[in-house]
Amino acid sequence: MLRALDISTSALVAQRTRLNAVSGNIANISSLKDENGEANPYQARQVVFQTDDSLSVSGASGVQVAEIKKSDSDPLYRYQPNHPLAIKEGKWKGYVAYPNIDLTTQMVDALESTRAYEANVGVMEITKNLSRETLTILA
């Protein structure tokens, strides 16, 4: 019975990781440089989940974060020739590379993981009440 709580908790942790990735993406929506100070626009992070059998109980398994992938879609080019980071030569001369993050998609993602979080809290509530009710057999 308590294992079911662990499974729901693993889902809560996973969804929270996804929500963290979304907040990172939105926070970095106009980051033009990477963590080393190079002029690489931020790449959106996508959290990939996988089944976690270490928590499995009677066929049900938990969930864990498999990896956090960097989206490899092309950056968004904006023509800003006077910008200090404007591209100096080639096809995109005079353009600045911005992160290719769609705010709408990110918000939908955030909403989706929030709803999934709520659903798992709901399951935990049911499991908890079930355990309490079972104890009344003995009382």
Partner: protein, 105 residues
């Protein structure tokens, strides 16, 4: 303690239960008490470990540690449920003890 021969026939229809009672009656009482005490002590120990773990996690969360609140609250809830279970078992045992104590001889 031997099963009393006189009441054996009326108990026949409930033979699985009667067998059970017979088996437990044949158990050496001293080792039985030890085993029971050990089981109970282990249960108490387990529940205590869960509560100590939950306490540590709450402490870590309240002092700004890097823990997930969902995991902390689950640990607290699990400790609570385990404790309630132990409490019910204890209540049942005490109840059974009182019943036995009140048997008129």
């Amino acid at each position: 303690m031997k099963p009393i021969a006189g009441i054996q026939p009326p108990l026949r229809p409930m033979s699985p239960l009667a067998d059970l009672a017979g088996n437990s009656a044949r158990v050496d009482t001293s080792s039985g008490i030890d085993a029971f005490a050990n089981v109970l002590a282990k249960q108490v120990q387990d529940v205590n470990t869960m509560q100590v773990d939950a306490n540590d996690m709450v402490h870590s969360m309240l002092t700004g540690g890097d823990v997930n609140e969902a995991e902390v609250l689950t640990a607290v809830q699990k400790a609570d449920l385990a404790f309630r279970m132990l409490l019910q078992v204890r209540n049942k045992l005490i109840e059974a003890y009182r019943e036995v104590q009140q048997i008129q001889i």
